[in-house]
Structure formats: C-alpha cells, structure tokens
C-alpha cells in the first residue's frame, strides 16, 4: 500500500505540473522576460532564473525542489519505519531467533527499501515521459530519464543516511530521521543562499545540494562532485550500517 500510494502521489504531482506547462507554453519567452527582474536570491531557491523554457520549467517546478522533497520524505520515512518498527514492537526477535544473521536481516530490509523506491521511480518516470510527450516539450528522453534517475538517487541518499543512522546505534536510531531531513533541507537552504552570503560559500561546497544541478542534467551532464558524493555516501553508509548493526544491542 505504501508503494501504491507513493507511486500515485508522486505521479499525480509530476503529471499535473508538466501538463500545466500547456497553459504557459506559448508565452514562455514573454513570461521569462517579464520575470527577468526576479531577484537572484529568489531564483537560486528555484534552481535558476529561467523559469518558463522547457528545461527551466522542469528544473524549477519539478526536479530542483518538488521531486527531491517528496522523495526525501518518502525514503527517510520508509528507512526509519523499516529499521525501527520491528525493533520497537519486538517482532524482530522472532526473525533473529532463527538462524538469520543480523546483516542478512538488515540487507533484506535495504533491498525492500530499494525495491519500493525503484517501483515509485519507474511509475513516476513513465508518467513524466508520457506527459512531456503530450505537452510536446523539446526534451531529450534520455536526458529526462537521467535527470529523473539522478533526482531519485540524490534524494534517496538522505534516506540511506537515515537507514545507516538507524542501524548504527540505539542512540542514533532515535534521531536518524531528523538528522537526514535537516541535512537535506538545511543543505538546500545553505546552498541556495551561498551565492549571497559569503559565510555560506565554503560550507555549501561540503553539502550535496551544491552539486545538484538539474539544468545541467536535463542537458545530459552530471556534476562530478555529485557523482563523488553519491558513491561516497553510499559506501560510507553501507559500511557503517553493516558494522554498527552487527555489533549493537537489538531492541
């Protein structure tokens, strides 16, 4: 049910947003010109000042903030639920009383988390691809697939952080969701402000949102810094959860 409702929810939001482009499609150039006075600060929170060209629209309305926020909430919530629920209601003891290793159990949960995420990704991408065709956006389908996929993977990285924190220790289990959400949304705010607040410039470079450039992705390019972050955080999270979960007290 979780998978079904999230698939429907994300797909409906994506489809409504893309189909709304029909209403402004013919006035895109004029609208961009009319809003050329938009402040850089406001533009940076939307991923740039181009809001109405096909790439600018998909960037500002879906991939820069809407889709990541939805997927971050979904993956963090799902990770915390998968890792914590059976531990707090003690049903985990039933499984762990059988010849099943802790890592086997944990990676089974990780596989379930990934499968749900992948299902929502496939459904929502399919809907996005069809809607882009319907409104006749001149967007390369491979670039759309790349952007949709990277957007999911980037957002899921915060879910993976929540997963790892929940697995590592009983203390971090309690605060995993909060840390993941604060890290993701805080990173978004700091990265968006870093162009105007000197003090944030260095910090922003340490945060993943700094490297998350969906305009580039819709043009078929991915920032190397983002790739390094995604590979690095995945490796660190997998090692941390494997070591932590196999050593800590359960329940």
């Amino acid at each position: 049910m979780f998978t079904l409702w999230w698939s429907i929810g994300v797909s409906v939001l994506v489809s409504i947003t893309i189909l709304s482009f029909l209403a402004i499609k013919d006035e895109a150039a004029q609208l961009n010109q009319a809003l050329s006075g938009i402040t850089d600060t406001a533009g940076s929170f939307l991923g740039g000042s181009d809001l109405f060209s096909p790439i600018g629209y998909l960037n500002s309305q879906i991939y820069f903030i809407l889709l990541p926020i939805l997927v971050i909430i979904m993956t963090v919530n799902l990770a915390s639920s998968l890792m914590s629920k059976d531990e707090s209601d003690l049903t985990v003891e039933l499984v762990l009383s059988r010849p099943v290793s802790r890592n086997h159990l944990m990676f089974g949960k990780l596989l379930a988390w990934f499968t749900i995420l992948f299902t929502v990704f496939v459904v929502s991408y399919g809907v996005a691809a069809v809607c882009v065709k319907i409104v006749d956006m001149p967007i390369n389908q491979w670039n759309l697939l790349l952007t949709h996929a990277i957007s999911f993977i980037f957002s899921a990285s915060f879910g993976l952080i929540a997963f790892a924190l929940t697995a590592v220790s009983r203390f971090t289990r309690r605060i995993a969701g909060v840390i993941a959400i604060v890290f993701s949304l805080g990173g978004y705010v700091i990265s968006s402000l870093s162009g105007f607040v000197d003090g944030f410039k260095f910090i922003a470079k340490l945060l993943p949102y700094h490297y998350y450039d969906t305009v580039q992705m819709l043009s078929g390019k991915v920032d190397l810094g983002l790739v390094i972050y995604l590979v690095g955080i995945t490796a660190v999270a997998l090692v941390a959860m494997s070591v932590g979960y196999s050593r800590r007290d359960i329940g």
Partner: protein, 300 residues
C-alpha cells in the same frame, strides 16, 4: 551429561546505567534438564534470556550454547534453539500458519507432522489473522513456533502467560516430551507451582545477581516447618517467646507462629513445656523460599 547452556561470569551494563543489569552471573544447564529462573520484575531475567539469544551483547563474561559461543556462533546456535519471548510480539496482519511457514523457511523447514500435532494439542487457530486473536491464542502460536523445531535447547520467557489450565497441561506435557528427548530447557516464570512441578533446578535472581541456585528437591529439604500454635495462657506464650529453640511471632495474644531455630526435636521439646490448645503445620512452598530471599534484601 554435557552442559547445553553455560553462562560464565556474565555481566551486562546498559548504556547510561552505572549499575549492572546482570552481574557476574554463572549458570550451567545440562541436556535433559529443566531450569526455572525466578526473580521479580526488573531482576534481570529477560536480560539474561536476551543475552543467550544474542539480541544484546554482554559487557563481560561469556555464554556457550551446546559448546558454541553465543556471539561468534550466534547463527549456528539458533539452529538448535526454540525461543519464546515474554509477552510475545507477533506480526498482526498475517495468519499464524503464514507466520510459522515463514519462520520455517528461514530455518530450512520443519516436520509438518509435528507442527500438525502441536496445532491439534494446543487447539491453535492458525488460519485467523493474528491481530484478531486473544492473548491466550497468540501465546499458543508463540509456543508452537518455539517448540515446532523440536530443538535441543529451549529458552522460554514466562511460557504459560495467558494460557488456560487445560493448555498449561498441554505445555507441561510438551516440556516433558522435550526433556525425555534430551533437550535442555531454560524458562523464566512467575508461577511457583509451575516451576515446582516441571523444573529440576531453580535459580533465583535479584538485582542482577544469582542469590540462590539448587534443585527443587533441595529447596524442599532445607525448609524448616512453620507451626501455627494456640496456647492456653499469656504465660505460656511468654514462655515460648523466651525459648532459644524457637522463633516466635504473634498472630494474636494466644495465637503464635512458631518456627524451629536449629532443630525440630529441640523445638518440640520447648513446645512440650506449655499447654497447647491447637497446632497446625503451615506447608512452605517455593514461593515462601523466593519471598525469603527478597525479604532478606529488604532487611539489609
């Protein structure tokens, strides 16, 4: 006979707690033996059980089950263990049969004929969703999942909680069968009559420390009787109170509880010196023994 479960100087501190939940606990349980573990709430019974199952890790000390280390060989050990948690937690959305088959698939299968026997013996409702079952019926499913492996070692936390007397009898019968098969059974219980009935050894734990361990028979043997005596006068009552052979407490002016201090014969001699109108023997049981350990703590 070889020891099936050995707890060796086991100590467990929970994070943030200065006092140990378990302190230097050493217990040995042989194959074919039923060991009853008694203690008040928070004494450390469930912590001990969770250490045996490797849900939590010892701060120091070691546990071996059938010669294997509880931490290093935890997966291998669980092939030989049947476990029932206290106040068993079961997933509510599945049926009992679905749950049992899922657990069986994690363990490489079970003897379906034996599962059918347990289902029949316990009159378990395996085809209803667990969330719709009463506590007693959920407990039956918990017991079946602990026993269906015909394990060499059973670790059972308050196994008859919520069961009616008929089902308790079925459980005792299943334990008896397991014992005949040579299985070691470690159970915690709040029912003293149950422990007296089915256990060979008992251990009493208080504040994380083992304060008594012995056979159920040895508990019975070391008991001194209590007599409730009614004497004919206050002078007789005073005489008994002065006697060094008796420990006397008043129920009323003429009605006393009398207990031998050293030997029964010297106590009877002291009693023979007064006129007794009535005398009844109060039969101590395991519960009295248990309470005496806890009362000693209160007097410290």
């Amino acid at each position: 006979m070889a020891s099936a479960i050995v707890l060796d100087k086991l100590t467990k501190y929970y994070p943030g707690s200065k006092a140990p939940a378990i302190n230097q606990l050493s217990i040995s349980i042989k194959s074919g033996e039923v060991y009853g573990f008694l203690g008040s709430n928070g004494a450390g019974k469930s912590t001990t059980i969770r250490l045996i199952l490797d849900f939590i890790r010892p701060s120091s000390g070691r546990i071996t089950v059938q010669g294997m280390d509880s931490v290093a060989d935890s997966v291998a050990i669980r092939r030989h263990i049947g476990y029932l948690a206290g106040d068993v937690a079961l997933p509510k959305r599945v049926t009992g049969r679905q749950l049992l088959h899922h657990l069986a698939s994690l363990s490489g299968g079970i003897d379906l004929d034996y599962l059918g026997k347990l289902e029949k013996d316990f009159q378990a409702q395996l085809d209803k969703r667990i969330g719709t079952l009463s506590k007693g019926n959920r407990q039956k499913i918990g017991l079946i999942q602990a026993l269906m492996w015909q394990p060499n070692v059973s670790v059972l936390d308050d196994p008859t909680s919520g069961l009616d007397p008929l089902m308790q009898e079925q459980f005792y019968s299943a334990i008896s069968d397991a014992k005949k098969r040579g299985a070691a059974i470690f159970l915690s219980s709040h029912s003293f009559s149950e422990v007296e009935r089915i256990c060979d050894h008992i251990g009493i734990i208080r504040a994380g420390e083992l304060v008594y361990e012995g056979t159920v028979a040895s508990v019975a043997a070391k008991r001194m009787p209590n007599w409730q005596v009614t004497v004919s006068s206050k002078a007789d009552a005073a005489t008994l109170k002065k006697s060094k052979s008796l420990k006397v407490s008043n129920l009323s002016d003429l009605s006393l509880t009398v207990c031998p201090v050293a030997s029964i014969s010297s106590a009877l001699l002291a009693l023979s010196k007064v006129e007794i109108k009535s005398m009844t023997i109060k039969q101590d049981n395991l519960e009295d023994e248990f309470m005496s350990f806890y009362n000693q703590e209160g007097q410290k």
